[in-house]
């Protein structure tokens, strides 16, 4: 069962997730080293290997507000983490969908670090407290990209169709 491994508040901007000074780094294999670069707690956890694959970053409202920099999504994806938030800013959410970073929006979610969260019958359940929270499903426009395993394969298929080729 996935656990909340890192908890942040409202309005966490892309400047916090991936500071501007690392923007020249673009490769998805390299961006994770700068994830939450100025958050010692996150980096200590990463160094101690306390951010297991599938672990959850729990955020408040408007997560990922600010810049369009895609590194903010790719650095979290590189750590294999899932974002559960009360709300996600538009560009960050679209980047996450395009790159295949797993996101769940639950406007009323309440959980602490270490709590176990699970999706059950279309709701998000905090297994530690026993509370259940409604989730906002992805809009069909974004779900189609998630189903195609990301925007690159999705766009590639569209490009082939446009040129009358079969994938």
């Amino acid at each position: 069962m996935p656990k909340v491994v890192f908890k942040v508040g409202d309005d966490i901007s892309t400047d916090t997730i991936y500071p501007g000074r690392f923007m020249a780094t673009v490769l998805p294999t390299e961006t994770p080293q700068h994830c939450f670069a100025d958050y010692k707690e996150f980096n200590d956890k990463a160094n101690r290997k306390e951010l297991p694959e599938g672990g959850i970053i729990l955020a408040g409202n408007n997560f990922g507000c600010g810049s369009s920099r895609e590194q903010a999504a790719s650095c979290i994806k590189g750590h294999g983490l899932t974002v559960v938030a009360r709300g996600i800013a538009r560009i960050f959410l679209q980047n996450a969908v395009n790159l295949g970073l797993n996101t769940i929006i639950a406007p009323d979610v309440v959980a602490g670090e270490g709590d176990e969260l699970a999706l059950e019958k279309g709701a998000l359940v905090n297994k530690t407290t026993g509370k259940s929270f409604a989730i906002v499903p992805h809009a069909p426009a974004r779900q189609a990209i998630i189903d195609a395993a990301g925007l690159i394969p999705y766009a590639r298929r569209k490009l082939m169709e446009q040129h009358g080729k079969r994938a």
Binding site: T16, P19, A73, G87, R156, H163
Partner: protein, 429 residues
């Protein structure tokens, strides 16, 4: 069904009679803008084309704009290598709207696009930069996208899976008092709407104060509409739009205008009157933490910044120069000025504004994004505070999460430069 401006533009670009909020579209793109992050777009573009047997050619090199601005001149070899990679791509693909690191035609992407007439009313503009909303000032539907999404645009010429956003109508009435500016209007509005109040929505600006604004002022509002989360922030194009495109941007061709239907359906209507508006300050660390200047007055400031795609235009630099004329920047303050484009730099130089500012103690930097995003130049020390005409005060934005950033108009910034503390320009320094 009657349509908002955004709905009209999306319908035209998607070849449909009409669209309504929630409709999923693939609108054709009129202009696709990138800056240094074009290096990542190039990588993702190659990925899309890989294994298709197709040539890696962009759909239309005349509709792609690339402007070097975020890290100019390059602050590191890594950036320099990215810039070289983009230069090579620009040549190989025949991209014509390319703006180098130059004093004649360079500058910040969101200034270069309008001043060169690249943006027209009714156009669909996407950019790998969140402040692409800026171009709504000219009546274009313009929004920020990520690098992978841009790579798909380069390949296909259209944006995939766009969900038609609902529109918030923002009616701005009244007449701005002296020394109160469009920046104060948008800060006030963001404070009212909150940082996520327009997430997944378009803002459409109406009212007598909106119509009375020059394009320079409209650019400020559209630019910062993303700070309320908006996908785009649109003005209805009018005579001022045509004047700007003809006189300032040198556009010769026809400029067809476009307007929302009078009975268009808005999700929400927000009305404000600016006749009694005071200068506003966005306090750390969110753009919606907005207060009238009086409530922050007296706060000691270490660095004053005038510039950026929000307030680095000629009228902004002029406003600062007029306040600082014959005065000195306080010894406890560093003042940095970076004009939004090479053209503005030269105009400000010719009119003597830069001389006044430098003589008062300000450092005039090259045009570009400067210290706005904390990559190079003007980083803050731990515990320091900056007062800036830029658009974001997020923790760490100017390169140090242990510093504070306050946002304001050029008038407030200049008045505060003299005193060294946040100062109401109407009270004088």
């Amino acid at each position: 069904m009657a349509a908002t401006l955004a709905e009209k533009i999306l319908a035209r670009a998607s070849g449909r009679e009409r669209v309504k909020p929630g409709d999923v579209l693939e609108p054709a793109v009129d202009l696709a803008m990138s800056h240094e992050n074009g290096a990542l777009v190039i990588n993702q573009f190659s990925e899309i084309v890989k294994d298709t047997g197709l040539e890696p050619r962009v759909w239309d090199p005349s509709k792609i704009a690339i402007i070097f601005d975020h890290r100019v001149p390059a602050e590191s070899s890594k950036t320099a290598n990215n810039q070289r990679k983009i230069r090579e791509f620009v040549v190989a693909q025949g991209i014509t709207k390319f703006h180098e690191i130059r004093g004649d035609e360079g500058g910040i992407c969101h200034q270069i696009l309008p001043e060169n007439g690249y943006v027209r009313p009714g156009a669909v503009v996407v950019g790998t930069d969140s402040h692409t909303t800026t171009h709504g000032a000219l009546g274009a539907l313009a929004w920020g996208i990520g690098a992978t999404e841009m790579a798909a645009v380069w390949a296909l010429g259209r944006v995939l899976n766009v969900e038609t956003p609902p529109t918030i109508k923002v009616v701005i009435e009244g007449k701005l008092p002296e020394l109160v500016t469009p920046k104060d209007i948008i800060l006030y509005l963001i404070g009212k709407l909150t940082a996520q109040g327009a997430n997944f929505r378009v803002m459409e600006f109406h009212g007598s104060a909106a119509r009375a604004m020059t394009i320079s002022g409209r650019l400020v509002l559209s630019n910062m509409s993303v700070e309320a989360g908006a996908t785009s922030g649109l003005f209805v194009p009018d005579e001022e739009t045509v004047r700007y495109l003809r006189e300032d941007a040198g556009v010769k061709e026809d400029i067809p205008l476009i307007a929302p239907d009078p009975d268009a359906v808005y999700e929400r209507i927000v009305e404000i009157n600016v006749s009694d508006l005071e200068p506003q300050i966005a306090c750390p660390h969110t753009v919606d933490n907005v207060k009238p200047v009086g409530e922050a007055a007296g706060r000691r400031i270490d660095q004053i910044v005038i510039g950026s795609c929000t307030n680095g235009r000629l009228d902004d630099i002029e406003a600062a120069a007029m306040i600082l004329k014959g005065k000195k920047v306080a010894k406890t303050v560093r003042m940095l000025v970076f004009p939004a484009s090479g053209r503005i730099y030269r105009q400000a130089l010719e009119r003597g504004f830069l001389g006044i500012l430098a003589g008062a103690g300000a450092v005039v930097m090259n045009s570009g994004c400067g210290c706005c995003l904390g990559i190079h130049q003007g980083a803050l020390a731990d515990g320091e505070a900056a007062l800036s005409t830029t658009n974001r005060n997020f923790k760490g934005r100017m390169g140090n999460p242990n510093a504070e950033i306050y946002l304001c108009s050029p008038a407030v910034a200049a008045a505060s430069a003299i005193t060294g503390v946040i100062t109401d320009p109407r009270k004088g320094a």
